[in-house]
Symmetry: C4
């Protein structure tokens, strides 16, 4: 039956995700909402989805979430569609256990546990991007650590950890598809802004949707630059940790400038 | 005479493909059709053509076919035009010997034997893509095997065979332009989803048009990632066969999500 | 004075190219035209200009010419503007000495001698493309010969000569800006379809505008593929000369298919 | 307070940049303007901003300035917005100390000192581009000097110096954010047209806006070509200094041709 063959993409409700035996029992409970948020705030999340697509960070896959501004134990994420197609009405509110607040909400991504578990482990994080950012994956699979090539990627100075789901869970379909796997990823992420995921992609965090998107874009841009530097004579000088801290402070504050441009490119003002 | 100089591209009818001596004899016979199929189903094949162009898998060359849903001994493929330009009326029905069911149908690709012979050898296959996917060709010509860099390319875990037409047919124009050559390619493909073709391109299969397109796109994406990984310190860790099987199952079921996006990008709903 | 500082780009007439002392003497003579050609034929040259831009072979620089279909001692080329902007009224008729037939015609490219001298040396050639095709220049400067990676670039099998203007003319501005330099380039090109130009670009020929454009596009595409293959384990197997001859025959006849697509992309039918 | 956390991007006036204690004192003085310039001249600067974005030299960051045509001690630069979004009304007039002539003008880039200090040190320069041009940064961080691959990048023949802000200023956020840092960059630039900036980007100069833009574009294009050449067998032959001088003369005079194309691409005539 298609529905169960494809739990992570078909447009189904949370109710439908129940096993047939459970479906009649209304097992999914309604959770308390964190409260209404202004359309303007949700529009940042909509813009984030589209920008990540336009800037080449996500393709048909990938997702971005935002912690509820008034309820730290809730977050928003789109139902299971391609980021480029997300509109405001596709946004679903989740608990940190990654259950939809509304049991009749359309189903979200199977990998939403990435978001919920990082929000649990990292009170400082208010937005999470997960992508298969194409130039970052080679770094996730190889031994060369991703390092900061320029000031706008200063957040990469210091350690960029790599999560290999096989270490704890053996051979899987590579998806972070339950709370335990999400928690293991959050543990590897630790207090860093970015973690790579072997054979899969990466996860990027920030204290605002804009900053998380910014970092996701420049993680990809930086990977391209570092890859190019591998063909040149070294040693290559990277942004060091002292510089990185100063860059990150400065850049965290300037992300409005590219954000304004990116929003225009996706047709939002 | 232009017609015979260019059997594979000019807009000619099958009748015209006859040698002059045969032309008057109406040698081409009408084959039994597998029956009408709904426009909706054919539209998937139209979309597939255009998506492969938009996603950079095909350029002016390349083709995609679909087995007849009700008649496994028939398949559909476009007449000989660039994939980006295909519309529903360009679709031609073929026997598995790659003869047009309607002898007056416009001529299709000279290389249609790729499709017919794979359908004969592989009852599990319902769609075939042939392309000159640009980053895959270097792997077809070199000794580095193509390997799965990420879960969505899990179908590449395990062996990706390489077909060299010279092995069996000596120096040729590299085209798979008759049944014997098509059968030789199908033999090298064996039970795998993808085979590379030395000095030429690759062939990708699936049990649906959507899945074949998905795999064709991610074969190219994966090749770019693997190429990048060659500039990094190894060893590079690939998706292994156990993971690949699980990924392939999961991903085969999720290809609706990028398909929805890709269809929008080519202006189809 | 700007006019003489910039003989190759400003919109000036041939008359203006005369030194001031000569300007009053009407020194430029009117040459006999090869005769009117149909707009449809000239439109192929217009399309060629735009296609080369769209396909990434030329940028603001580069040019393509066509031998007069009825007068082998005349050729057509645009006045000195960026190829993407060429329209039918920008086309100028030239003698093989690269003088405008009409002394009042707008000035063409300083490097038009590339075209005239190749037409003199190569009666088989009816179209010439000169570009700074970006991935081909590294091959022009390095020692790795450009070789055919796939059937559609079969014309590159065999030798691809490299012209270094310094060999005969010492340090210059690298432009082929007179008949002697054009003849030296034609000599290096010899009977080959393509020659690279060190520190500059390349020149591609064909027996039709369509074929010359086709070869220019696939020279660039092939260079990208060969470059990629350098990161893989060798030996890389190229299309050999026997295959190349067969490919070139076959492909020369199929270039209508991508041409139809490319023309649509530049808005011409 | 956001305003002071983000001095380089938020849309604030120069007055607002004062420390709170100074804000009431109207400490910023009005400077004498260099006089009105025609909209046509300012439009070159507007076009330059947009072209640099379209051609991939700048993204959300980067800036281009123009010396006042009638007052060598004044220059024009946009207020602090992404180059792609600049219109004529965003242009601000600056002293060479990089203070806005009008104290109520909207604030410009924190890094405007790059421009002011180069104009002071280099009377021959009338336009400056600063960018994070993506393929140039690897050269700024590695040991391989950037060298001229082709005639249109002849301005790179000879030495391309690299500025490392750490040499003189220790660990910073990498921004050139005061006059001393700008002067140090200008000193490293010396009499060259281009300097790279380690971990940051590059600065390109010219004696016209068109030439500075031209050089910025081809610095990026050249970096891509040189990077590609690293995968080929050497030795790679670069444009030497004698050739470079001749190329630079010739090309400086031809930059109208690509400029015309680039302007069309950004919708300006």
């Amino acid at each position: 039956m298609r529905l169960f063959a494809c739990p992570c993409c078909a447009p189904f409700s949370n109710r439908q995700m129940l096993a047939p035996a459970d479906a009649g029992r209304s097992a999914l409970k309604r959770h308390k909402s964190g409260g209404k948020v202004s359309p303007r705030i949700l529009d940042d999340l909509v813009a984030a989805n589209r920008i990540l697509a336009t800037e080449g960070v996500v393709d048909g896959y990938g997702h971005v979430s935002m912690r509820h501004p008034d309820a730290p134990d809730r977050y928003f994420i789109a139902r299971s569609i391609a980021p480029a197609l997300v509109t405001r009405k596709d946004i679903v509110e989740m608990t940190l256990d990654s259950e939809a607040v509304d049991p009749n909400a359309p189903g979200s991504y199977l990998e939403r546990y990435i978001h919920g578990e990082i929000y649990k482990a990292r009170p400082d994080v208010t937005s999470v991007v997960h992508s298969h950012s194409p130039t970052v994956i080679p770094f996730a699979n190889a031994k060369t650590p991703l390092r900061a090539m320029m000031h706008v990627a200063g957040f990469l100075a210091g350690r960029v950890p790599v999560f290999d789901i096989k270490d704890k869970f053996g051979p899987t379909n590579m998806l972070v598809s339950n709370r335990d796997q999400g928690a293991a990823l959050a543990e590897v992420l630790s207090d860093r802004p970015v973690a790579l995921m072997r054979g899969h992609g990466n996860v990027v965090t920030g204290d605002s949707v804009k900053l998380a998107v910014f970092r996701a874009v420049y993680t990809e841009v930086n990977a391209r630059m570092q890859l190019a530097s591998r063909d040149l004579d070294g040693p290559v000088i990277f942004i060091d940790e002292a510089e990185g801290r100063k860059c990150d402070e400065m850049i965290a504050a300037t992300c409005e400038r590219p954000w304004g441009l990116w929003k225009q490119k996706v047709g939002m003002k």
